[in-house]
């Protein structure tokens, strides 16, 4: 496929879908509070742009704090889990068990403990991104090739050298896969948190605006909020993809270009 088609095809399908959207709206004569048209959504978005911009900034803060702590604490826990089969056997089943708890059930509990606002939102984002990172990174750390470990043993490498010189780089692609999943969930997590944890100060993030717009039946504005959230998620994932490409570009098949 040539480069121009590569960009043109998604645009064409996009226009096609917008066409279907208008067709459904007009043939069924749907009012804007059931299905707003794309132009109504865009107009609503522009009219509310100051509020949405401010809300997006709050959401970003919650998402970033939650995401970064999920990345660092998740990585640290994976290191601990992989350090000995005893630790892994005693802890890992509980990690899996905790993962099974729907985050949504935990939300009111966190709000009860921490009150509404940023801390609750950040913790909920953390919860949602944490497990994929732990699971992936641990898998990478313990699946290091046996021969490579033997090689390090033969050179009398210390346990620390084995971990940081061999196991951690080996697990890097696994960790980055976990980060990618966490990044795609970070904005969703922050929004979920905001819907329940609302705001402590009267203004709030995008999730808070969902609650406000919904109560005011401002449906085009609700759609506009969804688009902003979508864009945020896209930016998050893109940043991780760039980071992943940068770190693995020379050596990992998933991103290295086929140059021979």
């Amino acid at each position: 496929m040539n480069n121009r088609l590569y960009w043109a095809l998604p645009l064409i399908t996009g226009f096609f879908m917008i066409g279907i959207w208008y067709a459904i709206k007009w043939t069924n004569d749907l009012p804007h509070y059931i299905l707003p048209s794309p132009d109504e959504i865009i107009r609503a978005g522009f009219a509310e742009k100051d509020i949405l911009f401010k809300a997006a900034r709050e959401t970003i803060v919650g998402a970033v704090i939650g995401f970064l702590s999920a990345g660092s604490i998740g990585f640290a826990l994976a290191l601990i889990l992989s350090s000995s089969p005893w630790i892994k056997a005693s802890l890992y089943p509980w990690v899996l068990f905790l993962q099974m708890i729907p985050v949504i059930v935990m939300v009111p509990i966190f709000v009860l403990w921490l009150g509404p606002g940023l801390p609750s939102v950040a913790i909920i984002t953390f919860m949602i991104g944490f497990f994929p990172i732990v699971a992936n990174t641990t898998q990478g750390l313990i699946s290091t090739e046996k021969n490579m470990v033997d090689l390090f043993t033969l050179y009398n490498a210390s346990k620390l050298q084995e971990v940081f010189f061999l196991r951690v780089p080996y697990a890097l692609p696994y960790f980055l896969t976990g980060l990618k999943i966490a990044a795609s969930l970070a904005v969703i997590g922050a929004l979920t948190g905001e819907i329940f944890a609302g705001s402590a100060s009267g203004s709030g993030g995008l999730g808070f605006m969902v609650v406000v717009y919904n109560s005011q039946l401002k449906i085009p504005e609700l759609f506009a909020t969804a688009i902003v959230a979508c864009a945020l998620g896209f930016i998050f994932v893109s940043i991780v993809l760039v980071l992943s490409w940068y770190l693995l570009r020379h050596w990992h098949e998933s991103v290295a270009q086929k140059d021979r």
């Binding site: 090739e145 021969n147 033969l154 050179y155 009398n156 010189f165 050596w251």
Partner: protein, 254 residues
Amino acid sequence: MIKESTQLSFENVGKSYGRGKAVIEAFDLNIFHGEFVSLIGPSGCGKSTILKLVAGLTPITEGELKVDNKSPENAREDMAYIFQEATLLPWLTVTNNIQVPLRLLHWRKSKREEIANRLIELVGLSSVKDYYPRQLSGGMQMRVSIARALTLSPKILLLDEPFGALDEMARDHLNEELLAIRAQEDWTALFVTHSVPEAIFLSSRIIILSANPGRLYKTIAIDFPYPRKPELRESLEYQQAVADVSHHLRSVER
């Protein structure tokens, strides 16, 4: 070459994993300084296990095994191991892969690079020293692995079917290069292979093992003088040696 000093001695060595049947039983062998000894035998004869025992990667369960008069674990700095796969770290370039053993010992960068450069030259990889392993062919990767094994100037080289995954051409070339390198470096080799012609071309002595459990079946001295040239493969004496060893191998397999 001095042939008197014993470098590796197996005395009635036995090995079994857990409570399982013995993999190796009553194994006696002395290997002298400067020898190139190949282990050959049917699958299940424990030839790879013997290398692991020498390297101290797994303990012997019977008898006595001495490497330079030390226990295997204490003789590790005298040995280097070359695996069946190149076992390179994919995130490091050729030169950095070769420096891994030196980095683990905290050698200075300038010294590390000096040694790496000399070895890269020795194995003929100067033009690709900053490439990553995935950019290299199987044969080139194996050369990097050999260079890495030589960084600490080992006295004993343990090679576990290092050329088994290569095509015949690449294998023949690397056999010749290995002997050329050995002419410059002074190490004793213990080499595991499935290939009779390869074993004969490289070795001063071939050990045939029988399987289930692994036992020493026969020792055959290969007397062609070193340095050996590729033309050796075309000689009648060489063909005869291949036929002889193959014959013995067949009688063990039966």
